[in-house]
Structure formats: C-alpha cells, structure tokens
C-alpha cells in the first residue's frame, strides 16, 4: 500500500535523486523543416520543428524591429491514455505562451525584422515532463535551423517526493501525496531561468533547493543537446 517510492536515495527506476531520466536527442528529423529535433526524455517523446525566418502572414502582424515568434505546443490524439481531441485547449495555449517567453530573449530576434519564426512542438507520447522535453527539443531545432541564439535553452523539472528533493520526476513520482513539480527552462551557459512554473505546497527553503537542482539538470541536458547538434553536423559533412 503505502510503501515508499524512494529508499536510501534510490528511486523506483534506479536513478539517484539528482539524476535525469535517459535522454535521447536527434537533430534534423523533419526533412522539409529548416531545423528539427526528436527527443525521448524517459518515455516522453516529442518532435519539434522550426520554420523561418520567413515572411509574416498576415502582414499586419509584422514587427519592424524584430522577428515575431509563433509557438505551438500540441499533444497528438493518441499520446495520452484518454484520447486528446484535436483543437484548441487552454492548457496548450498556456504552455505555448510560457515557452514562447522562455525563448524570446534568447533568440536574436532583432536580426530579423519583419520576419516570423515558427516553432511547432508535437508530443508523441506523454508521460511526465512533456513541456520540458518540448522546450529541449525546440532549442535543438532552433540551433539546427541556424537561428542565432545567446546559447542553448535546456529544460527540466525538479521537485519533492516523500520529502526528498529530486530531479526530473516520473509520472509515478508526480502522484506521490506530497509531490511538488517545478519545471524550469534555463540558458544553461549563464544559469538564467527563463521559464518557471510550480504547483504544490512548499516552503521558500524547499523552493530554493529545488530550483538549484534544476541547474544541475539543465547543465547535464545541455551537453546532450550539444552532442546531438555535433552528430548532425558530422553526418552532414561526412
């Protein structure tokens, strides 16, 4: 019944408290896109693709000083147990907004006035952490598209499970009665946090520890993102 999930610092899937789930990234997976990436974060699977910089349509949306960013986050119908009906839902609107804001200052949008950059993130299989997997994929897709950025954005959640501060929760861990989930996106190079959300019930102290743990996670992720981009580059020039 109420057996503990975490014993002696080891989690149900064998990970340590500050360890991320297995992360696979492949850049350049959508032929027609300017940049793209496929990410498997544990059992969560995401594809992201970038189109642009390109013309703005309709034209009255143009900004004469910088490119506009159009972000879509979407779960395909069979990515979840209870089929997701296609179309508008508020959760997706909110996630697209915070992701867009997480990326906006990182991309040198001023270099492309009157242009648009479109980012699409599609969740193929949704377990825990779809939004952090999606941002991680989008960041690689942007780099793959050659869009100039101040650095790679990496993203992971940390939180609390049975009193432990843990990195990158699974669905099972998210269901613990005292669970907190705090997803973060970070310009890993500088430690600047550009996305942060949190649900639960925590003291300021705990929040601090959790956020610090995402720093470690994002640095780990950034390395894997970089490797994926190098692999793609090598494959292209091979």
């Amino acid at each position: 019944m109420s057996e503990k999930l975490i014993n002696k610092g080891i989690r149900p899937d064998g990970r340590k408290l500050d360890e991320i789930r297995p992360l696979k990234i492949k850049a350049g997976v959508v032929d027609r896109a300017d940049g793209s990436a496929y990410v498997e974060f544990g059992t969560t699977k995401v594809i992201s693709a970038v189109y642009g910089p390109k013309k703005v349509h309709p034209r009255h949306m143009e900004n004469s000083k910088k490119a506009i960013l159009k972000v879509r986050y979407n779960m395909i119908p069979f990515s979840v147990y209870d089929r997701k009906r296609p179309g508008y839902d508020k959760r997706s609107v909110e996630i697209a907004k915070v992701v867009s804001e997480a990326l906006e200052n990182v991309i040198f949008l001023e270099e492309f006035p009157k242009s648009a950059i479109d980012i699409d993130m599609e969740i193929i299989q949704a377990d825990a952490g779809t939004r952090v997997a999606a941002i991680t994929a989008a960041s690689v897709a942007l780099a793959d598209a050659g869009i100039p950025m101040r650095g790679l954005i990496s993203s992971v959640a940390a939180g609390r499970v049975e009193g432990n501060i843990v990195l990158d929760l699974t669905k099972e861990e998210e269901d613990a009665s005292d669970a907190i989930d705090l997803p973060v996106a970070m310009l890993a190079r500088t430690g600047e946090i550009t996305l942060l959300q949190m649900d639960g019930d925590a003291s300021v102290d705990e929040i601090e520890k959790i956020v610090r743990m995402t720093e470690k996670g994002c640095k780990d992720i950034e390395k894997i993102q970089g490797k994926a981009l190098i692999e793609k580059y090598n494959a292209n020039t091979a």
């Binding site: 209870d82 508008y88 508020k90 959760r91 609107v93 909110e94 697209a96 907004k97 915070v98 804001e101 906006e104 200052n105 705090l182 310009l187 430690g191 600047e192 946090i193 550009t194 996305l195 942060l196 959300q197 949190m198 649900d199 639960g200 019930d201 925590a202 003291s203 300021v204 929040i207 601090e208 956020v211 610090r212 720093e215």
Partner: protein
C-alpha cells in the same frame, strides 16, 4: 518614438527607486474590496487596486467528479477581458493572456486547497459540487494577476452554497452554508527592472518592463503556485528574494483584508 522615450524614462526612474505615482517599489496601490456585487452569484467581489478593477463571481452546480479524484468537488476557472475595459480588448475566444490569467488564479486556489474540495463531494464517483470561478476585468491598469487573485479569494469568502433537495435539485434562492475552507492564499506578482524588484505595476510600467514572477502564498507562509512570465530571466537568488517579498505582502494583505479563515 515617444513611446520608446516614455519606456526608457520609466525604466530609468525605477532604477532610481522612483515611480510615477510616488510609491515605493514594494508598495501596493490603494486596495478596496467590495463583496456581494452580483446577487445571482453564489459569491462575488469587486476589487479596485488603484485604477485596476476586476470582478470575480462564483456559480455552483452539480457535476460528475474527475476520474482521478472521485471524492472531490470540481473547480473551473476562467478570466475574460471585457471589451469595455480597454481599447485593445476584443470580444472572442479568450486570448493567451486571459487563458494564463484564469489558469494561474485557478492553480493558486486548487494547489493551496483553499476550498476543501473533499467536503464538496455528495455521492462519491457520481455527484459533486462544481465551482465556477469567473473573473471579468472591468478596467485594466496593470497587475491583473494580483487583483484577480484577491477578487477570487474575496468571492470565495463571500459565497454561500445553494441547497439541494433529495432529488439533487438545486435551490438557488435558499443559500445557507459558506464554502468549506482550509486556508487563504493570494498571488503576488513581482516584476524585474534591471536589478530592481517592483510590485503592483501599473499598465504604463508594464509597457516598459515585462519580466515577472507570480507567487501564490497561503496563510502558513507556504507557496502553492508560481508562474514566471515575460521574455527575460531570473537568477536563483532573485527567485528566492521574490518568494520572500510575496510571503511578506500576502501576510500583510491577509491581516488587513481577510480576517476570518477556516471553518
């Protein structure tokens, strides 16, 4: 051009700890809360925070519980910018700013378990009370998040539950018990301007600076919800600092405006 100049001016003033209305950086505008503004609602409240004005209202009916919480009532929140509130507001499907506003207020209430949702269960797995929290913005002069959170909390405290008969028919004319509460929770939004942190921003200030963190804190000082917004970023130290400011301000607001608590 003028717009740009104005923005730069506001930013420079804030960096020198000066605001257009002579407030301190961590000072809220005058706040008035008026309960019971729509008698057909189970509960309602109008909040004026400076010139910003929002109304929150609660309606209740019966519904099935969510599959993953068969013994709990249901909360459904939405926020709407009434077209009358600002020239840029338009009728239509809620935009992303409205969606975010509704969802942040919703999570603040839900995660802090402000309402004791277990007490809203009537027949487990079959029939529970559904609480609609609707927020309408009447005048937009900045800091809609905090104004909306205050209005929502005041509407919850104002609410009286309708009664049901044996056939689960609702009698809205006979409202008796208050909503069962466990705590009070309020969002405080802190914005960043250079290395300054500033609260309760006006619409003009929000034109000039745009990176914010909203932190919802409850009566015991714990945080139940956070939401970063805007294009910029924060350091860990700034986040911790903001949490502390939010806790302090929430405590002040609860003491001044929300005496009664659990029941």
């Amino acid at each position: 051009m003028t717009a740009k100049l104005t923005k730069d001016y506001i930013v420079n003033q804030i960096k020198r700890n000066i605001r257009g209305d002579d407030r301190k950086l961590d000072e809220m505008r005058e706040l008035t809360i008026e309960r019971g503004v729509s008698a057909n609602a189970e509960g309602s409240a109008r909040v004026k925070l400076g010139k910003t004005e929002v109304i929150a209202g609660i309606k209740m009916d019966l519904a099935e519980p969510y599959p993953d919480s068969q013994d709990k009532g249901v909360l459904t929140s939405s926020a709407e910018f009434l077209p009358l509130a600002a020239p840029e507001f338009e009728a239509g499907r809620p935009g992303e700013v409205e969606v975010e506003l509704g969802r942040v207020v919703d999570r603040g209430i839900r995660e802090a378990e402000v309402i004791d949702f277990k007490k809203l269960c009537i027949v487990e797995g079959e029939k529970v009370w559904r609480v609609f929290m609707d927020i309408v913005v009447i005048n937009h002069d900045g800091n809609l998040m905090d104004a909306s959170g205050l209005a929502a909390m005041a509407a919850i405290l104002d609410a009286k539950m309708p009664t049901i008969d044996k056939d689960y028919k609702i009698d809205y004319n006979k409202r008796e018990k208050p909503l069962p509460l466990t705590t009070i929770a309020l969002p405080i939004t802190v914005m960043k301007c250079g290395n300054k942190l500033i609260i309760d921003t006006t619409a003009d200030e929000e034109e000039a600076i745009d990176t914010r963190l909203t932190v919802t804190t409850n009566e015991s000082g714990n945080i139940s919800s956070m939401q970063k917004g805007g294009p910029g970023g924060f350091t860990v130290e700034e986040i911790v600092e903001i949490c502390k400011i939010a806790g302090k301000k929430t405590d002040e607001l609860i003491k001044k405006h929300f005496k009664s608590k659990k029941n």
